[in-house]
Structure formats: C-alpha cells, structure tokens
C-alpha cells in the first residue's frame, strides 16, 4: 500500500511526476534507454527509432483527437508534408539537419491549420471526412507536383549530419530521434497544464460550453490542428532521414488510420497512451512476423498470409479495444498501478 503521498502545496499537486517512486522508475527507464544502444543490435535499434518516430506522431494526433476531440484522418499526410519539406530543404538548400526538422514541422503546421479551416463550419464526423479529403488531395500533390516532389519515384534523402558527423545508421540516429521524442512528449504533457491545453480539453468536453466560457473556438481548434500537424511534420522529417527515401506511397490513408488506431489502443486523452499505443502498434506486426517465422515449418504458405493477417489483426485491435477497453492500454496500466498501490487491500 502506498503511503506518504501527502501534498502540502499546489506546486506539488500540479507536478508532472508527483511521487518519489515515479521519479525513480522514470530515472530507471531513462537509464535503460541510454544503455539500450550499447547492448541491442541493429534490428532492435531500427525498431526503437521507428517506435520513437511513431510516438512523436501519435502524441501529436492525441493532442488533436484525444484532447481536443477532433478526429483527423490526415495525420500521415501531414507527416508527408513534413518529410517532403525536410527532404527538400536538405537537397535543395543544404540546410542543417535540425533546422530542416523544424522547417518540416512548421510547414506541416501551416498545412494543418489550412486543413483545419473546415472546422469553422463542420465538426465531428464531417470534419473527419474533410480530413480524408485533405489527405487524398495532399497525396495527389505529392504524386503530381513532380518538379518539386519527384513524382511517383519520390526523393532520396542524404544522411543526416550534425557537426560534421554523419548519422546514417539507426545506432547513430537513435541519439537524435530518442531525445526529440522525449522532448515532444514532455512538451505535450506540459501543454495540458497551461491555459491552451486546458482550453483544448474544455473544447473536447463540450465545445458550445467552452465557447460560452470565453474560449474562441476557431482559434483554439486551429491551434490544435497546427500543433498536432507540427508533431506530425517533425515525425515526418525524422522519417525522411530515417528511411532516406520518401515516395507518395510512404504516407497512405492506412498510415493515418494506423495513428488513429495507436491513439485508441493506447488510450485517448492520456500522454502515456500515446507512447504505449505507438509502441504497441509498431511492435504487433513484428510479433506477427516472428509468429509466422515460427509457424512456417508447418504452414507452407505462412509468409504469403502474413500481410492479410496483419490487416485483420490491425482491425481487430481497433474493434476490440473500442468495445472492451475504450480507455486503452493506459487504463490497463492504471489498473495495474492501483492494484500495487492498494495492495494488500482489494482494488
């Protein structure tokens, strides 16, 4: 049973990490992440980088969908905008790596605000459908504005450089991607302790009430779209440097659905949910691949059905979580914690 969690000041009550135990776990986690590249091989580092990129993008979508209550199915397209911007700044201008990431994020934020404009008139599902339209139109731009985006062939991106050091392998990029992911998540967590973040939550809970309380709806909705797209753009920039090649097909509608699924599975409207969801959804295909590898001696066509099985599992996860665990993995985690906090008493 947890004792001694008495708070004597508002500052302590508002703290992000409120107990010593929590801080200790966090320190341990950070130490593990620091030690990870020294023990893991390239495959695991590749996965870790991918998870971190997805964590950034998912956290961004969580700001919009989980905290502001606006569903977007254009998240992958925003990511594409960021990726193309970063890649073009690198190729055409030779601008430095971190500046390109920022540029990608800002460009995506601009496009995000533009896509958010229909929220002036419509909301809820209609808005979700409008973002599908935006996603297709952006895909069309990637594909057909060939002089800039390289058309269907896409762009190949030179390796990232910081201070003359070339970051080509996941082992090197890990040191950029992971801190950025950490920073993004921390920034998002802090956002919801500010006026802006609170306004987002008010809009999610009841937008008309929020407006009556003096929150300018359009401005805050657009801000949420912009912020969310900024995260997507940042993730997209990292994506470009990570895979070193981007095509219009890198950012299909399914990828947007992937992020939405990650938000749902992780837990809408919790920062932890974004992290858990992104990690979980990224790892599921790998686990399936492993399973297929194990099953292949008995199932001759196991490899052929891997991709459809992945599609089915993906859909089942969305349905299953929405029906049985609507608050996602974050809620499961909370239950586990509560069990230990209250032990030996029943929860």
């Amino acid at each position: 049973m947890r004792i001694g969690a008495l708070k004597t000041s508002y500052a302590a009550d508002h703290a992000l990490f409120d107990t010593p135990v929590q801080r200790a776990w966090l320190g341990l986690g950070a130490a593990l992440l620091l030690a990870f590249p020294f023990v893991a091989d390239d495959y695991w580092l590749y996965l870790a980088c991918l998870v971190a990129i997805h964590v950034i993008a998912t956290t961004g979508l969580n700001i919009l969908t989980g905290f502001t209550g606006l569903v977007s199915l254009g998240h992958a397209a925003f990511m594409g905008v960021g990726a193309y911007t970063a890649a073009l700044m690198e190729i055409r201008l030779g601008a430095p790596f971190l500046l390109n990431l920022l540029g990608g994020g800002l460009m995506a934020a601009g496009v995000g605000v533009l896509v958010g404009l229909p929220s002036l008139r419509v909301k809820g599902l209609y808005l979700a459908i409008a973002t599908i339209a935006a996603s297709f139109i952006l895909h069309f731009v990637f594909q057909n504005w060939s002089t800039v985006t390289g058309g269907i062939a896409g762009l190949s991106v030179p390796p990232a450089r910081i201070l003359g050091i070339e970051l080509a392998r996941p082992a090197a990029l890990y040191w950029v991607i992971l801190p950025l992911a950490g920073l993004s998540v921390l920034a998002a967590a802090n956002l919801f302790r500010t006026r802006i973040g609170r306004a987002f939550i008010a809009i999610r809970d009841r937008d008309i009430s929020a407006e009556i309380l003096g929150i300018p709806l359009l401005r805050y909705k657009l801000m949420s779209f912009g912020l969310s797209a900024f995260y997507a753009g940042l993730a997209g920039g990292l994506f470009a440097y990570f895979f070193r090649s981007i095509t219009p097909e890198s950012f299909p509608l399914v990828y947007s659905i992937f992020f939405l699924a990650a938000v749902i599975v992780g837990g809408m409207g919790t920062i932890l949910g974004g992290i858990l969801g992104a990690a979980f959804m990224t790892m599921v295909p790998e686990v399936l691949k492993l399973g297929v590898g194990l099953a292949s001696p008995w199932l001759p066509n196991a490899v052929a059905i891997l991709s459809p099985v992945r599609t089915v599992v993906f859909g089942l996860l969305i349905i299953g979580f929405l029906i049985f665990e609507p608050h996602g993995l974050a809620e499961i985690w909370r239950r586990i914690r509560r069990f230990f906090h209250l032990w030996p008493f029943r929860t």
Partner: protein, 295 residues
C-alpha cells in the same frame, strides 16, 4: 484538347451516369444505415467488396449459373450486414459517434484481410454474365456492362424506395429514423429494425459490389469505391435517400468528366474537392437535415 466532340462528350456522360447509378446504390446502402442507426459506416466499400467476392465464390468457385449465384451472394451480403450489427455495432450502442465510426474503420480492415486470406490479394475478373455486345443510344456507344449496371441499379433503387413506402418493415424503418423513442412506444421492435437496416444495406452493398465487379473486375482494394460513395452521401446529405441518388449521379458525372478531360489522376482530386466545397458551403449536404445542437 483539339475541338469539342459532342458525341464523345455524350458517351463520357453516359458512362458517368452508369457509374453514378452504382454510386447511388452504394450511397443508398450507406444512408439506410445512417438513417436507422446514426452510424457512419466507413466499411460500406468493404461490404461491397465482400458481396462481389461472394458472387465470385458462388459463380466461379462452385460453378453456379448467374441466376443462382446472384441471390446467394445478396443473401450472403445481408447476413454479413446483420452479423456485423449484432456482433460489433450493438455493443457500441450509446457510445460516441466517433467511436462507432472508428469501429467501422477497423471492420473494413478486418474484411479486407479476411478476403485476402481466403481469395488471395490479386485482382481477378468475375465470370461474365452480362455479355459484351455494345449498346447504342442514338449514335452514342455505351459499354453493355455499364448499361446493364445502370438499369439494374435503377431497378434495385426503385425496389428499395417502394419498400420504404409500402412494406411494413420499411415503414417501421422510417419511423425509427424519425424518432426512436416514439417508434419504440408504438410497438416497433427497434433493435430488430437496426438489424434489418444493416441486413438491407448489406444486400444493397452486395448488389452494388456485383455490378461494380462486373464492370471493373474485383480485388480486395475495390473497397475504395466506398470512399467515392462517402463523397456521394456527404454531397447529398447523410440522411437523405433522394440526396444519395442525386449525389451519386453528380459524383459519377464529375468522375467521368474529370477522368476523361483532365486525366485519370484528377478523378479523386475532383471528387474530394467537391466534398470539401460542399462541407464548407452546405455542411449538411444538398438535402440533409441540419442538426441543431442544444445544451
């Protein structure tokens, strides 16, 4: 474009009307579900695809003639719709519309995966049951498949409209759509109506799927047709049957014209631009009911 050829234009227009009728039929399936259960079903394209594959299984797999395979495929589509309603929509009753919307996205993914497992992800052709002799309207040439598709889609739509007017179940459905609580207190079994709406939508989607498959071949990705249908219902209004019909023809024409005169890649941009324009100018579509929100 060198010179304007009215005959060619007429042919393109007729082809557009043909695919527009199919879109209208799919839109009708969508509106049916939305009217009765207030669910925005993004998996309608995938239900359509499953219908087409069921026909493929009965006609090509079991070697049944078309008159045997079509009713079986339609029944299969209806069963699928009812099963979906019972298994995953019913438990979501009362949840936020956005959660239900996302459940249907997951459902679409499951259906695509299952079809790929059962029938392989490669596109195939449906066995021909329409014939290939061209049809001429005046001087304009129309592909026979599109002409038959148009005619059948019109018949099916007319059948549905008649059923809504006269059949007991159709009236119950309209009553439920108008006011659930009132329908309940009049003795209408609302859960059964929900189930029936999904089953009927499944039948309509399967019919559209067979026709779409007959025209363009089938593949697990043919569900993207559902996205065009989504545009149709947004343009027409989510809860308006007339809107689905008008919207279907409008989108069909727009797709045909933009695809022919601008190039195939402009098709999707044209339809989605129309969608955005309608959303901004008339958020509830041409014939939809404006929702009024009160605190």
């Amino acid at each position: 474009m060198e010179g304007f050829d009215p005959l060619f234009f007429a042919e393109v227009t007729l082809a557009g009307l043909g695919s527009g009728a199919l879109l209208a039929l799919t839109g009708l399936a969508f509106v049916l579900i939305y009217k009765a259960t207030r669910v925005v079903n993004l998996a309608i394209g995938e239900m359509l695809m499953v219908g087409a594959y069921l026909f493929f299984a009965f006609a090509a797999g079991l070697g049944l003639p078309a008159w045997g395979a079509i009713p079986l495929a339609l029944a299969g589509g209806g069963l699928l719709g009812a099963a979906i309603e019972r298994a995953i929509i019913r438990p979501m009753l009362g949840e936020s519309p956005i959660a239900i919307f996302m459940v249907t996205i997951g459902l679409g993914s499951v259906l695509v995966g299952l079809v790929e497992i059962v029938w392989s992800p490669n596109p195939t052709q449906l066995p021909d049951f329409i014939g290939a002799a061209p049809v001429f309207l005046g001087e304009a040439y129309v592909s026979r498949k599109i002409a038959v598709g148009f005619a059948v889609a019109c018949l099916v739509i007319a059948g549905f409209l008649l059923a809504f007017r006269t059949w007991r179940g159709g009236v119950a459905l309209r009553a439920t759509a108008a006011d659930q609580a009132a329908a309940y207190s009049c003795g209408i079994d609302v859960p059964a109506v929900f189930c029936a709406a999904w089953a009927l939508a499944g039948v309509a989607a399967a019919a559209a799927g067979i026709l779409v498959g007959a025209v363009g071949g089938i593949s697990p990705t043919m569900g993207v047709f559902g996205l065009s249908a989504l545009v149709v219902v947004i343009v027409g209004g989510l809860d308006s049957v007339a809107g689905a019909l008008v919207g279907g023809l409008v989108v069909g024409l727009l797709e045909a014209w933009s695809g022919t005169f601008l190039g195939g890649e402009y098709k999707i941009v044209a339809t989605f631009s129309l969608l955005l324009a309608v959303l901004v100018v008339r958020p509830y579509g041409l014939f939809g009911t404006a929702e009024i929100e009160r605190l």
